[in-house]
Symmetry: C2
Subunit: 521 residues, 2 copies
């Protein structure tokens, strides 16, 4: 009776063709009962909304009891969303939303092909109300202003979703899975944020029961559902939970680590038995955010740097191949690694200007390495990195390594025991693990253990749409997750000291790097 | 932590006082998680809607984490409907609606006291569109007309519900349980009725998943729920299922019979193992509906008749004690029994005018018994019953007795094996079992086996509000229920013949009646 297609049977929204038996004096079941019982094999205790019941008798008789049924899972029940005649084919879509505090990305997912068929990104419309999250939280202390943040977010989403759906009818969109950090979810849902950033840092909500698209005024099918990823506290949001889901580390026997570097460095260690999470301020410098010449990943941003160790020739790559305007996150680690490998930076992180004097300048009273001279840049100004910035980057990379070390030690493991390192974040799109290992940010373990995830949060929303058991998995992740407060660990500061070297004071931790760079005999 | 009150713990809507632990750096659970976990002992997998989440942080902090929580069960999940500060006391109500095709009755139920605190009845506003159900079904063949019937019904309910709630705020009403026959439920929900009364008689819906009050535009709490009783086919509606629920026969070991005489006679035989139902046209004559002097139960309607067997003095009682205007259902059986007992009617149902010539008259060419002479009636016209009408009433009472007999025989039982006869229907409010036995409508078994239920449909809606397991019970009733088509039973006509006598041709079936009236030596 069913068209079973194993992969699709796990999707949160499904379409099934039914060939129902005809009613007769011997089989006087109501139309609803006929439908429900035909689907019982697959869905127990199916919900059938009034909108479907109203159309059902006419539709069944017009189509001679052959129909296509669209169902969706809300985490508790399967619901019939629509019954269609077999002739009426039309798109059948879900949408993943990565609600970042800077940028928002939409992923249009086709439940028929099981593929992401469109991607669309745009700026978070909250930015005019506060550049960073803390500004926005302060702004939102007054309910009418919080309401405003909510409204601009929903309004923008509404318009952008309509764009991505166009020219197809809204009804094609039956499910949205949205993730964001805890503040973003709260703004999106118009939940109180005042207690989120005041001690003891309490979110209004952790688990959000599935909503209907129309409750938020979002476009889509009238019976369409909206899942907002839960959070595990003010500082551990749905974006990271989505990342865990995308990595799948919570399903494995072996112990892995997920590293998500956004504005903050967030790290999860664990397997299907336990999950240990922490976060720390490792990010900003690594993202390029604090650099005088730093910029977002946009056309003209330097995304790759190579320095020939012999000729000391400097090569750069920019996004879109345009003239360079600044340095974006992915180039920061490259730059540090290349400077170090070329001997332009010593193990303590000090510039070695005598090796290439023409590239070093005093800029605003500080020694700086000029990556792009003024004449070659799009802005007419040099693109550089200062000694002080190098220090910050090293502090960040050291913090990252130390977080990883402390996290492992806290469960009696060493970094060598970790089977996989999932690298996520805008960061994860581009990072060259080799460079990160060279500077001692990531551990010197076999390179195949590093798995780039790209935008793990966005991928997590798609993982969700593809797997109705994700509800259960997320609940288990929340239950299994322990949060480790890194700031209060005494060993953190102690271990950090050694990690402020390139790659580390203890070279036995980086045997391959040491050998390759000739740091050991 | 909870105020357990055993009875109230079964209600479909409940109120619980909670004293939550305060958040701290050691307990950073989200407000939602704090609430959910405090309620977990009692409700698993609780639903918390957005409306509650939005108010929660402010409310918890204002009330120092002491709150009252109102929950409701939708048949699948418990949902938090409202969180209140302990100071804000207010009414907490449910509503039972008996949506009859003639009259509608509202029962306001107080979830706090567990009592029905108000009753309100009014005419079904569909009547102008068709006096009887079949007329309305024909009318509703066009969708816009069906829509009209839906609209007048909901509109009237809306207004009458507002009246019964007044002057209290609508929010006090958190749950409505509504029952009606299958056509009434379909009109109420605006479901297709065209196939309901055309062979093979298929309803659009049997089981209706719980709706929200606002889906139907009914007054009440924004998160308020609406349960519409299911049906077991075109001719076996939610009103009868509500009656079964009210009787409780589906929970008992012993086998009972439920008799509901409205426009139709509907009978259910069974216990917790099985249920056998049937319906037959026994009703109209018994209800007084076909009598020239018949009328609805309203002021001036004759509701009781007594004839002194010796003096042959006729005494009547009217509703409201007003001057008599006509005969209502409850007096019909009385009248027949009294005429028979007084020897004014013989065993074949023929008048014996010679025993009291002044009370018999030819009216429109037919012999009639004058119950109230013209000079004593409110209308200035005599109130009477004709020989032909007596025949119809006897046919109805005979049909009823035969239905009961066939139903019992079909499972190998005799009427003497039945432990209880639940008598329901507008009928059930007034029927004198002794009179019904005298005329051979009900079997001559010990009188304590007769249990009057009054308006069993209305009572069933209250049984529902008082017992969240009613969802499960109704599903089991639907599963256990077999429908017996009385028209196609060959023994029906055969057995009916004997039942067209007073009380019956086989007097051994009515030993007490026979003895009392000296019909046997």
């Amino acid at each position: 009776m069913f068209l079973f297609q194993s992969m699709k049977e796990r999707f949160v929204a499904q379409e099934i063709e039914l060939n129902l038996s005809l009613p007769s004096l011997e089989d006087q079941r109501a139309d609803e009962a006929r439908l429900r019982q035909a689907l019982e094999e697959r869905y127990q205790d199916l919900l059938i909304p009034l909108s479907v019941l109203r159309k059902l008798p006419g539709l069944l008789r017009e189509s001679n009891y052959q129909v296509r049924v669209r169902t969706a899972f809300d985490g508790r029940n399967w619901k019939v969303q629509e019954v269609l005649s077999p002739q009426k084919k039309g798109p059948f879509w879900g949408l993943g939303v990565d609600l970042g505090s800077t940028g928002i990305v939409l992923y249009l997912f086709d439940f028929e092909s099981g593929e992401v068929i469109k991607k669309h990104s745009f700026k978070n419309p909250q930015i005019p109300y506060g550049e960073d999250i803390l500004n926005r939280l302060h702004f939102a202390d007054k309910p009418e202003r919080r309401q405003k943040l909510h409204e601009v977010t929903v309004e923008t989403l509404r318009n952008e979703i309509k764009k991505i759906l166009s020219p197809h009818p809204e009804e094609a969109l039956v499910y949205i899975a949205l993730c964001g950090n805890t503040t973003m979810s709260h703004f999106f849902l118009n939940l109180e944020t005042r207690y989120l950033y005041r001690e003891p840092y309490i979110p209004a909500v952790s688990w959000i029961d599935t909503l209907r698209l129309k409750e938020l005024g979002l476009p889509g099918h009238p019976e369409g559902l909206l899942f907002v990823f839960p959070n595990r506290g003010s500082y551990f949001g749905g974006d990271l939970l989505a990342g865990i889901l995308a990595s799948g580390l919570h399903r494995q026997e072996e112990i892995s680590i997920l590293i998500d570097v956004g504005t903050n460095a967030e790290v999860v260690l664990g397997n299907k038995e336990f999950l240990l999470a922490t976060a720390g301020a490792a990010g900003p410098a690594l993202e390029g955010g604090i650099l005088a010449c730093g910029m977002q990943a946009a056309p003209g941003a330097i995304s790759r740097v190579k320095i020939d160790p012999k000729s000391l020739e400097v090569k750069i790559e920019t996004i879109g191949g345009e003239n360079p305007r600044g340095i974006c996150g992915s180039a920061v680690i490259d730059l540090l690694a290349e400077l170090f490998k070329a001997g332009l930076l010593d193990q303590r992180g000090k510039f070695v200007p005598e090796r290439l004097p023409e590239r070093f300048k005093q800029i605003e009273g500080e020694l700086a390495f000029v990556l792009v001279p003024a004449k070659d840049s799009a802005t007419g100004k040099p693109i550089f990195v200062t000694q002080g910035e190098i220090k910050s980057i090293i502090r960040s990379k050291g913090a990252m390594y130390t977080i990883l070390t402390v996290l492992c030690q806290s469960v009696g493991l060493s970094l060598k025991d970790i089977s996989r390192f999932y690298i996520a974040g805008s960061f994860g799109n581009y990072i060259d693990p080799e460079a990160a290992i060279t500077i001692g940010m990531l551990p010197d373990v076999p390179r195949e253990r590093f798995v780039p995830l790209g935008n793990a949060a966005g991928k997590g929303t798609i993982s969700f749409l593809k797997n109705y058991q994700a509800f259960q998995e997320l609940k288990e992740i929340l239950n299994n997750l322990t949060y480790l407060e890194m700031n209060v660990r005494p060993e953190f500061m102690q271990l950090l000291t050694g990690a402020l070297f390139l790659p580390h004071t203890d070279l036995s931790l980086f045997p391959n790097v040491a050998r390759k760079l000739g740091l050991v005999s």
